[in-house]
Amino acid sequence: MTSTTAEMRPPRSEVGVIGWLRKNLFSSPTNALLTVIGIWLIWTVVSNVVDWALLHATWEGEDGKACSREGAGACWPFIQAKFSQFMYGRYPEPQRWRVDLTYVLAVIGLVPLMIPRFPGKLVNTLYMIVIFPIAAFLLLSGGYFGLPYIPTELWGGLLVTLVVASVGIAGAFPLGIMLALGRRSRMPIVRWVSVGFIELVRGVPLITVLFMASVMLPLFLPEGMTIDKLLRALIMVALFAAAYLAEVIRGGLQAIPRGQFEAADALGLTYAQKMGLIVLPQALKLVIPGIVNTFIGLFKDTSLVLIIGIFDLLGIVQLNQTDSKWFSHATAMTGYVFAGLIFWIFCFGMSRYSLFIERRLAASDRR
């Protein structure tokens, strides 16, 4: 059947820029009104941000006086002067290469791990879960191989944020898997204990858990035994994250078809073999986006440690705002915006990565 009608160009109002505008912005009076409101909103926000961050900002200065004029915007020299403190806290300056080296080691391990096509995942994973933590601990804490010992009280800034978040999630992982398996176990007591722990932890705010770490945990230990404050916070953060991770992993376990379990049983595999070789690899792969999201949440929550007197990025920014040398009405806001920007870059990057994996998984499902 051939078309007999002559080909006609669509009306001008339906194609090109005008057509797009009509269709997407002014399709009805309500839509037109919304568009106008939207433009006004964007204009207000953008012009204020540009004014504050660029046009009225202070770019040079030796102290807070430069930023103290009327109507001053951001106080960038404050960030410049305090930048290394924001990154390393009070970590001694001559030793800061150790922190940088740790970052480099982390990037070497992480980047290939995150690119799905990159070969050698097993070696890579082993590096990240065995070699890297040991190397990082030796480098950061020191006390061996001629490296001076740096007590954790001196750690601070972005370093602490990253340490708390990554150690938290790494510690949470094995416990989270065990809890998820426990919750689906056939043994009632194991199930109850898992459910109890998960619901207990998910029911209370992290801040009370951290208070517990700082004022209650020491009383749990036998006489004369003490645990480093940062380590106490790490333990609690890991326990906290484990409960959330367990629920994510449970979702993955539930998505594995029964046939997989039964096939493994039919092969005569033991429980550990069945879970470790058949079920978990599939389940974990399914929930990578959920795990990344848990990690994002944890990364943001690390800022709470400032309440118990550990100086993470936000804590050290806040501490420096009270520096009388740098005081001005613009300083505090600049500090918060700077910290917010760093957190945002990390979290947004991770959420995009999670989206990328999600799409990949969806694509492989369709095959």
């Binding site: 970590y91 040991i134 700082s214 020491p218 004369g224 645990i227 480093d228 007197g309 009270t322």
Partner: protein
């Protein structure tokens, strides 16, 4: 996995301090560890605050150094543990720190129900109030209806309530977790009044943008004897910390300073000779070397020097000695003799 196991053990040893039993053996533990864990404020200018490089300065920090000098012979062997108001007592109770020197007020309640013993008063303080000059307030009795910024978990919070109750004045408290936050809120105009120990007021006034726009009201509404504390039940350690404090005072009284302590070793004055360990075996009696006081003065200075350097005339804070002067100069600082 052998090296890994070894490493884990090492890591555990570093992070999990296996302190000896807390009672009665603090001295042995400190000597064995080779350093003194000293609980200080997370940041209060003049008392204990880290500078940009992480060195702790202040009156309380120097007291930590004095204890380390007496016990270990080296004032640098201090591990400063910053503690918040909330966790300070737990840190001491659990043995995480050996001594708490953190502008903490000595009260009966704390002596009786928190399991700690105060060894003395290294700073006689009182609670004061700061207001903006522009309010035109001259006395605390004019503060009816005021909003007051105060830090939580302190005796300050309770004194404040008492003072306003006794004077039948109305007020609104705004309570913060940390001193920095409290001061920031005051500066932003959230409160009319900022209240804390007078020493803290003078120190923190300097952190304000225009210190001259604020005045400290004349009323001192409470007694705040600030001092170091140790765990209950270890009388040996209690005695040591207490006598470190007394040695600092005795040294000032006897005129021994950081600069002249070496010449003073040749002094014929029996008081000075006893302080410096030239006569008598007083150091041994409390489990220390005979030169314990010499080490303190040589490495840290006497009480007057510490005071001047950190909060007194030699510092930006510039607080008058007042009650903290020696008893012989009209103050309250009085130390039993070393003999």
């Amino acid at each position: 996995m052998k090296p890994a196991t070894k490493l884990l053990a090492a890591a555990a040893a570093v992070l999990v301090g296996t302190a000896g039993a807390a009672s009665a053996q603090t001295l042995d533990k400190v000597k064995k560890q080779g350093n003194l864990s000293c609980g200080v404020n997370v940041g209060l200018a003049g008392f204990s605050a880290p500078d940009d490089k992480g060195n702790w300065t202040g009156l309380d920090a120097d007291y930590c150094r004095a204890v380390a000098a007496a016990v270990l012979g080296d004032a640098t062997k201090v591990r400063f543990v910053p503690t918040t108001a909330k966790e300070r007592f737990t840190a001491l109770q659990s043995g995480e720190i050996d001594v708490l020197i953190r502008n903490t007020t000595w009260t009966l309640g704390r002596d009786s129900s928190l399991g700690l013993s105060f060894v003395g008063t290294n700073y006689y303080d009182g609670q004061g109030m700061m207001v903006k000059k522009s309010l035109g307030v001259k006395s605390a009795t004019e503060l009816s209806g005021a909003t007051v910024c105060v830090q939580t978990g302190t005796t300050t919070e309770l004194n404040l309530a008492d003072y306003f109750r006794v004077n039948k004045l109305d007020y609104k408290p705004v309570v913060f977790e940390k001193a920095d936050e409290t001061l920031t809120a005051y500066q932003a105009g959230r409160c009319d009044v900022y209240t804390t120990d007078a020493s803290g007021l003078y120190a923190q006034r300097l952190q304000l943008q225009n210190p001259d726009e604020h005045i400290v009201l004349p009323e001192i509404i409470s007694k705040e004897p600030l001092g170091p504390s140790v765990r209950q039940g270890d009388s040996q350690w209690f005695t040591i910390v207490r006598w470190v404090h007394f040695a600092l005072l005795n040294a000032e009284e006897a005129g021994i300073t950081k600069a002249n302590v070496d010449q003073m070793l040749n002094s014929t004055n029996p008081d000075i000779r006893r302080i410096l360990g030239k006569e008598g075996e007083f150091g041994k009696g409390i489990g220390l070397g005979s030169d314990w006081a010499y080490q303190i003065i040589k490495q840290v200075g006497n009480y007057g020097e510490i005071f001047d350097k950190n909060v007194g005339a030699g510092s930006r804070i510039n607080i008058a000695r007042g009650q903290n002067n020696l008893w012989s100069k009209g103050g309250l600082q009085y130390a039993p003799p070393i003999r």
